[in-house]
């Protein structure tokens, strides 16, 4: 079991920004599943929420990038 944590380095090698995607996907799925009952509705709404969050975060990223341009 020790080696499970010490040797699984694949996750640790990912750039830190990429963790945003699984985290956002999980949040969107769980949030939508607690709003709706039907699997199709859950999946549709969670995809929409996922896209909204990603677009919002990319917007913030762009804003921060522009504000720090040539600093």
């Amino acid at each position: 079991m020790n080696s499970l944590f010490l040797s699984m380095v694949t996750l640790a090698q990912l750039p830190i920004l990429y963790y945003m995607f699984p985290l956002t996907a999980a949040i969107s799925l769980v949030y939508s599943a607690t709003r709706y009952e039907e699997p199709t509705a859950i999946l549709k709404k969670s995809f929409r929420l996922f896209m909204q969050i990603i677009v919002f975060m990319l917007g913030v990223l762009l804003l921060v990038y522009l504000l720090s341009y040539k600093l």
């Binding site: 963790y19 699984p22 949030y31």
Partner: protein, 319 residues
């Protein structure tokens, strides 16, 4: 839609028990209620997020307390200070996967958690020999046998190391004992938040090996999983995690916190059903009367509505 309207349309089996089960293991309450898709989805997302965080933090982001050494405190009174890990409150909401931290805190604080050996050990060793004439540390790996024997000042550790010196590959066979100035601290504590247990011993006799060997052995042996997982972190360990993992250490804890916070929604879903409820739509029947019909309803809801129709006076009239 109000909760009462919602509960009329959904028959949620034993909401209290389901909520408890959802806390115990995310999604279990929904599965108990027969909502298998949602249960599996919650289990996958929340447990996946929690264990992803645990793996990113090398198994150590879940703990109840951490300790800070007195030299890092403003009011230095020589005592190790213990602080609550408030993040554990949200980790606790994940249920069973976070509960070992409570048991491990009790084990960590128990008087049995000493630097001594309960039983003789035979483990893989990795470390260095110090104090050679050249002055450089010599890396050694091999198998170490350790046992506890009665000594003049109480129990002492002695053992034997058989292995090789790296990179030369020369074989060594050393008899080991506790050094006088390291008495009682030759081994790390039995339970500690580190997969490796510290070993520091003196070379008593060189049975086999090159002439230029150091006289002091330092290194580590593996600590069993149940003796380090979710154990309170000590100052050095916390600093080590921050230094080595940096932002990933923070992110690992965020993953475990988020999993716990999301499970609040899941517990509520098991108790009260989906927040927006099951939305019926008004549709016209063939005879022109309006009635409730499932929009995307599952069989359970459709059955329930059929039952309602049959028992309602209007439905009887239509029949």
């Amino acid at each position: 839609m109000t909760p009462s309207e919602n509960s009329e349309l959904f028959h949620l089996k034993n909401p209290g028990l389901a909520a408890f089960l959802s806390w115990l293991l995310p999604g279990l309450g929904q599965m108990y209620q027969g909502r298998v898709f949602k249960g599996a989805l919650f289990a996958l997302c929340i447990l996946g997020m929690f264990f992803c965080g645990v793996q990113m933090g090398e198994g150590r982001p879940v703990y109840c307390y951490y300790e800070i050494n007195p030299d890092r405190m403003e009011n230095q009174d020589g005592a190790v200070r213990r602080f609550r890990n408030y993040g554990y409150i949200s980790q606790f909401l994940v249920g069973l996967p976070a509960l070992p931290a409570i048991i491990q805190t009790k084990r960590f604080d128990s008087p049995d958690n000493t630097n001594q050996l309960d039983a003789p050990v035979d483990e893989q060793f990795e470390g260095v020999l110090l104090g050679s004439e050249e002055g450089l540390p010599q890396k050694v790996i091999g198998s170490i046998n350790l046992k506890q024997v009665p000594g003049l000042r109480g129990p002492e550790i002695e053992g034997r190391l058989q292995g090789i010196v790296q990179p030369s590959g020369e074989r060594i066979d050393l008899e080991l004992r506790e050094s006088d100035f390291n008495s009682g601290r030759s081994l790390g504590r039995k339970i500690s938040a580190d997969p490796k247990r510290y070993v520091s011993l003196e070379v008593a006799k060189v049975v086999e090996g090159p002439k230029e060997l150091g006289n002091s052995l330092e290194g580590s042996i593996p600590r069993p999983f149940y003796n380090w997982y979710q154990v309170p972190l000590q100052d050095q360990q916390l600093q080590d995690m921050n230094a080595r993992l940096g932002k990933r250490w923070e992110l690992a804890m965020v993953f475990t916190w988020m999993a716990g916070l999301l499970n609040i929604l899941v517990i509520w879903d098991a108790y009260e059903g989906p927040a927006y409820g099951y939305k019926p739509q008004t549709a016209k029947n063939d005879d022109g009367n309006s009635s409730r019909s499932p929009e995307n309803g599952d069989q359970q809801n459709a059955d329930q509505q059929t039952e309602q129709k049959q028992t309602s006076p209007d439905a009887k009239g239509q029949a």
